[in-house]
Amino acid sequence: MLMTPPTLWLVVLFILPLILMAVFSFRAGSFAPERDQFTLDTYREYFSNPAYLRRLGQSGWIALQTSALSIPFAYPLAYFLAFRAGPMRVTLLTVLIVPAWTSYLLRILAWKIILGSNGALATFLLSTGLMQEAAPVLLYSPTAVIVTLVYSWIPFVTLPIFSALERIDKRLLEAAADLGCAPWEAFLRVTLPLSLPGVIGGFFFVFIPTLGEWVTPTLVGGVQGIMYGNLIQDQFVRALNWPMGSLMSLVMLTVVLILTVLFSRVGRISDLAGA
């Protein structure tokens, strides 16, 4: 009974790897013979260096800003699509998504060009005299990471908000108008509250993957924009310290799980699924 395909999927592709990762965090090394010994040294090392947790906190802050900034861009788009676009909306929705079909890497690199010292932004600032010497604008900073990520996440945030707005019974708005509500009042008291599950959904769609992001910071983050995901990647790919990489991932996973529980309390996932 329990071994239905979804359960099997979850066990094989999620639970088992998680257990393997948890076990690996206790191993003494990545390779034999250390691999077969168990120790708490990795845990001691991790928790004795506050830089790791601080970097996780900083990544959380970047993720928070990214998600929060995506919403004001995505909401008007979703609103327009849901209430104003009429028969055009399928086309417009596709247009919105089309850039996301090109390689993610390509779009980050495009931002690197825009923000670079010979880029559009620097050229503009130079021509207006706001900048004296060609230099990268924002590039290689946490801000560059946020700008790039907000850009790439906007479609992700638009869709759940759109879907929430779509489901609003239009008669409620008519009723609000009949009862003397000004349009802005109807928006604040009817539309916005009813679309909140979509907003919260969009927020977490962005927040959780951004927390573990490493490609964008590698390319545009410079030294200060390094995120926690970069540290994990370094442990696995360069340092070959799999126990430390596993532990770092576990800590992040725990944080994400706690946030997801909070999210499901606040946002009630079932609302979003359109049940």
């Binding site: 090394g29 390779f31 034999a32 090392e45 260096n49 830089a51 790791y52 601080r54 970097r55 900083q58 909306r89 399928v90 929705l93 596709t94 998504i97 996301a100 079909w101 090109t102 390689s103 993610y104 890497l105 390509l106 670079g116 010292s117 010979n118 060609a134 230099a135 990268p136 290689y140 790439s152 479609p155 992700f156 869709l159 759109f162 879907s163 779509e166 489901r167 993957p209 490493w214 490609v215 590698t218 983050g221 410079g222 030294v223 200060q224 390094i226 970069n230 540290l231 370094d234 442990q235 790919v237 360069r238 340092a239 070959l240 310290n241 430390m244 359109g274």
Partner: protein, 366 residues
């Protein structure tokens, strides 16, 4: 009209899925690809764990002439660490091409077997300084092949005080325009040299000083460069004035592009890297492997490496076939050039862990 919202919802779900897929596939690790052929099963093939870009037939013309019916199989990697992981996991291969930092690990884990250099007709040309690095327990385990410098490259038109030593990376004049190579071992060793320490023999106090020094440098850095194209374009655009641990090829292309650059010999010395081939302990194709190795170290193959990739050749006889401007650029005909270079030494697992661990702490630090 009723069907419209349902269709829209379906569409948005599909689109969201597509976006998710696109997002996931974008940053995928460049994973190694191998195409096992039927021949591999018949013990009449050769499998290499190799850097991508090093499979060119120009690197083994003698092997191709000798074994026209055999096409070597390659499993590519992009990091030394990745190669070690592939080999350690039990992958069936004949030759592997790591660099000095990792050599000791292969020997200690008994993944490779000693090389009988008398079977290599071109061995006599191999520079003895490089061959020595590949010796462990009195036996030759690695055939050195490609080598190069790691030093500081700077824009002569952007700085007023030229850097003279590794310690000059901390010169405040360059603040905001410095790029370090994203390589823990490299920065650790260069910093140890700048402080006058023996990088391969540091005390805990010295270790703490090295970390502190690198953390202090962080506000002055523009970024960490990860590959040749990246640092090359950063130097060309003028965003980076001083780049550390840059290789020969970056200097050569900057010169070819006509940029005002200089590649210094720091007072502590230039660093040098060496990579080489080792024979798998379980190789079933030892004879073929020797033929391939001999073809690799032939002067013409090695000269092709210098001329095309701007790296040094382990075989000194390749110099006769090498572009003279390249030789001059790096003083490769100076007999003492290797003695002046501080080559990366094979690291023990403990050293490697210490260096990479330190780098992770430095990167995490605010």
């Amino acid at each position: 009209m009723k069907t419209q919202p349902a269709r829209l919802q379906l569409l948005s779900v599909l689109l969201l899925g597509a976006v998710a897929l696109a997002a996931c596939s974008g940053p995928a690790q460049p994973t190694a690809v191998t195409v096992p052929t039927a021949a591999a099963q018949l013990n009449n093939s050769l499998t290499l764990v190799e850097w991508s870009g090093y499979e060119l037939p120009e690197f083994w013309p003698a092997f191709a002439a000798q074994h026209a019916n055999i096409a070597p199989d390659y499993k590519f990697f992009v990091e030394d660490a990745e190669a070690y992981t592939i080999v350690e996991s039990g992958f069936d291969y004949d030759l592997v091409h790591p660099c000095t930092n990792y050599w000791q690990l292969y020997v200690d884990a008994k993944l490779i077997q000693p090389i009988d250099t008398s079977r290599l007709t071109n061995w006599s040309g191999i520079r003895p300084e490089l061959a020595k690095l590949g010796q462990f327990n009195g036996q030759q385990y690695f055939v050195p092949w490609d080598w190069g410098f790691e030093s500081i490259l700077y824009r002569t038109d952007k700085v007023t005080t030229p850097p003279k030593s590794w310690a000059d990376l901390w010169n405040p004049e360059y603040a905001g325009h410095i790029s370090l190579y994203d390589c823990g071992e490299c920065n650790y060793i260069a910093t140890a040299l700048s402080l006058g320490f023996d990088p391969w023999n540091v005390t805990p106090e010295q270790d703490a000083q090295i970390k502190q020094k690198l953390i202090e440098l962080k506000p002055s850095l523009l970024n960490y460069w990860a590959d040749f194209t990246e640092i090359n374009s950063l130097i060309a655009s003028g965003d980076v004035w001083v780049a550390a641990n840059v290789w020969n090829d970056a200097y050569k292309s900057a010169v070819d592009e006509g940029l005002a650059v200089d590649y210094i010999t720091p007072t502590e010395g230039r660093l040098g890297w060496v990579c080489g081939y080792a024979l798998s302990a379980n190789s079933q194709n030892v004879d073929l492997a020797y033929d391939y190795l001999d073809a690799l170290i032939a002067p013409d193959a090695m000269a092709y490496l210098s001329n095309e990739y701007a790296y040094g050749a382990a075989n000194v006889k390749a110099l006769e076939l090498t572009d003279p401007t390249f030789i001059e650029l790096f003083s490769l005909d100076d007999p003492s050039i290797l003695d002046q270079t501080i080559f990366y030494r094979p690291l023990t697992e403990a050293q490697r862990e210490a260096f990479t661990g330190a780098w992770s702490e430095i990167k995490a630090a605010p």
